[in-house]
Amino acid sequence: MLRSTILLIFSLFLLTQCTKKDGSGTVTIQLDHSVAGNAFEVDQLKYACQAGHTYSIVNLKYYLSEIKLTDKHGQIISRGNIHLFDIQNPASASLNLDNIPDGDYTQLSFVFGLSEIQNVDGGLINTLENINMEWPIPGDQGYHYMKFEGRYDSLNTGIVRSFNIHTGATKGNQNYLEITLPIQTLILRDNNWTIHLQMDLNEWLQNPTTFDFVGHEAIMMDQSAQEIIKANGGTVFSIGSVKKT
């Protein structure tokens, strides 16, 4: 009897272990925005850029896609999310990666914008939001990767003009960014986590190249300007806190 009981308890223990190995959780990516380390406020003409202007940000929309978590063994987990952030839609500041299996994750990577696969006419689900991001320039195709719009006080002279940093594929150049960021080890064991992904908007305008709004009010068909923004994108993103939720 005792032997049978011990065997039963041992079997139950093993089964429990098996169940635990199949655990999973949700990893939420929380999108935080700042300007040169300061809190981001919409439509406030108060930020200074390296080119010498004071500027404001009125509109901000962008796509993140091919979002992946990599564990310490190099295994990559992707849920195929294509996410559109829209400053006018507060709910879009977070996205969930569901059913992420238990693991020790050390890296977050994503495409800023859309890769060749999705960035074709009709490549995304035909929603109103995606239609408003279309890139209809004759000869090009696909979608805006980012709409970063605002006003600037030209060299602080009191003359206020507009800028539109609209990124996307033009003249055969894809122009999307592949971002990989190490994260403080996220030990997922049948629980949920939140990763704060920070975007410093001022970094689009510097490092390594100063982006001057003057002469760059509209850049959709300006590949050299697209390349400056793409190169500056390397310092735009960082990881904030990584927390169990």
């Binding site: 035909n126 109103l128 239609i131 408003n132 004759p138 206020v160 507009s162 959709m220």
Partner: protein, 333 residues
């Protein structure tokens, strides 16, 4: 006392049952036929309220209500009086066209009403028309039509709004010359002028598309497009209370734009030529001017005479003549 109470309850129940039986003739049936909405694949999926699925009976009822002066408490006005089919269901500057409304979630020039078509129709029935439901209930036909559409003989403003919303979801314009000559598959091609106008419209040369782009030719958003140096207080800011929204009005669809003049929220421009001149040379700077108006500091996009006529030719490709003659949308009376 208890016996008396029981008797009264029983009497009420009997009377209630009798009333119902007497008000619903045997010839009335509630067996609505689902209405299949059709529109091209390029159009986005339309959000339809679960509580208000489209039925043939509901759409027909909505169409009748749209054209019926009985909706007005004094019997003097109907929706169709200001929303004329030959003018793409518009008539004057204040009247935004009732076209492709099923893809809208904000309504009126300043977005006073946001939500679903049912929400805006509820506003129109209750707050704009002050409709008296008794007038519909006393009509010889409406009680049966409401029963056939919604399974109720009690006519409420909610069901009235739902019927109007159903009809307006069917009022779709998707067969303009643009849809045939610029979208693949038809075998038809634009003229050289129309193609040049397309290139201006959809490039940063004209930069019309950021507010009026996509298959619906509107971004359904609010913008200050540079009409005034003192931006108007009756636009979006009147709803949000946000001074950053001064001078912002909803981008109207440009589908059938040649039919919906005069233009702008106050009708200040009579013709499309005047509108093109405004965007070319007449923009005015104000603190809330939309950043998309990036040539405003130069007064506009400065088109040549040829470019203006090409752009005008393109805008005329957005006219859908089959829409304004579609018998499914005209008066049932």
């Amino acid at each position: 006392m208890r016996i008396l109470s029981t008797f009264i309850v029983f009497l009420i129940l009997v009377l209630h049952s009798c009333t119902k039986d007497s008000e619903i003739p045997n010839s009335w049936t509630y067996n609505p036929t689902p209405y299949l909405l059709e529109f091209p694949d390029e159009f986005p999926q339309m959000q339809i309220e679960l509580a208000n699925p489209l039925t043939v009976e509901g759409v027909q009822l909505g169409r009748r209500l749209y054209y019926d002066q009985l909706l007005h408490p004094a019997g003097m006005h109907a929706c169709s009086e200001c929303h004329l089919q030959q003018s793409s269901f518009s008539s004057s500057a204040e009247v935004l066209p009732h076209i492709n409304l099923g893809w809208n979630s904000t309504f009126l020039w300043n977005g006073k009403i946001s939500g679903t078509l049912e929400d805006i129709m509820q506003f129109e029935v209750d707050d704009f028309f002050h409709a008296d439901m008794n007038r519909l209930e006393q009509d010889s036909l409406y009680p049966r039509l409401f029963f056939e559409a919604f399974g109720t003989e009690t006519i409420t403003s909610t069901y009235t709004a739902r019927a109007l919303a159903q009809f307006l979801r069917t009022v779709i314009s998707s067969n303009a010359r643009y849809d045939n000559v610029f979208l693949p598959g038809s075998g038809e091609f634009p003229t050289e002028e129309e193609q040049n106008g397309y290139d201006i419209f959809f490039s940063e040369k004209g930069d019309c598309f950021h507010c009026h782009g996509g298959i619906l030719f509107t971004d359904n958003n609010f913008h200050n497009n540079g009409l005034d140096t003192q931006p108007s207080p009756i636009g979006r800011s009147a709803i949000t209370g946000n001074p950053n929204d001064l001078g912002k009005f909803k981008s109207p669809t440009l589908r059938n734009i040649a039919l919906t003049g005069p233009y702008m929220h106050d009708g200040r421009y009579t013709t499309l030529e005047e509108v093109i001149d405004f965007y070319s040379e007449g923009l005015k700077i104000s603190p809330t001017i939309d950043p998309l108006m990036k040539q405003a500091h130069k007064g506009g996009i400065h088109l040549t005479g040829k470019e203006k006529s090409d752009l005008l030719a393109f805008l005329h490709t957005l006219t859908d003549t089959t829409f304004i003659t579609n018998p499914a949308f005209n008066s049932p009376f």
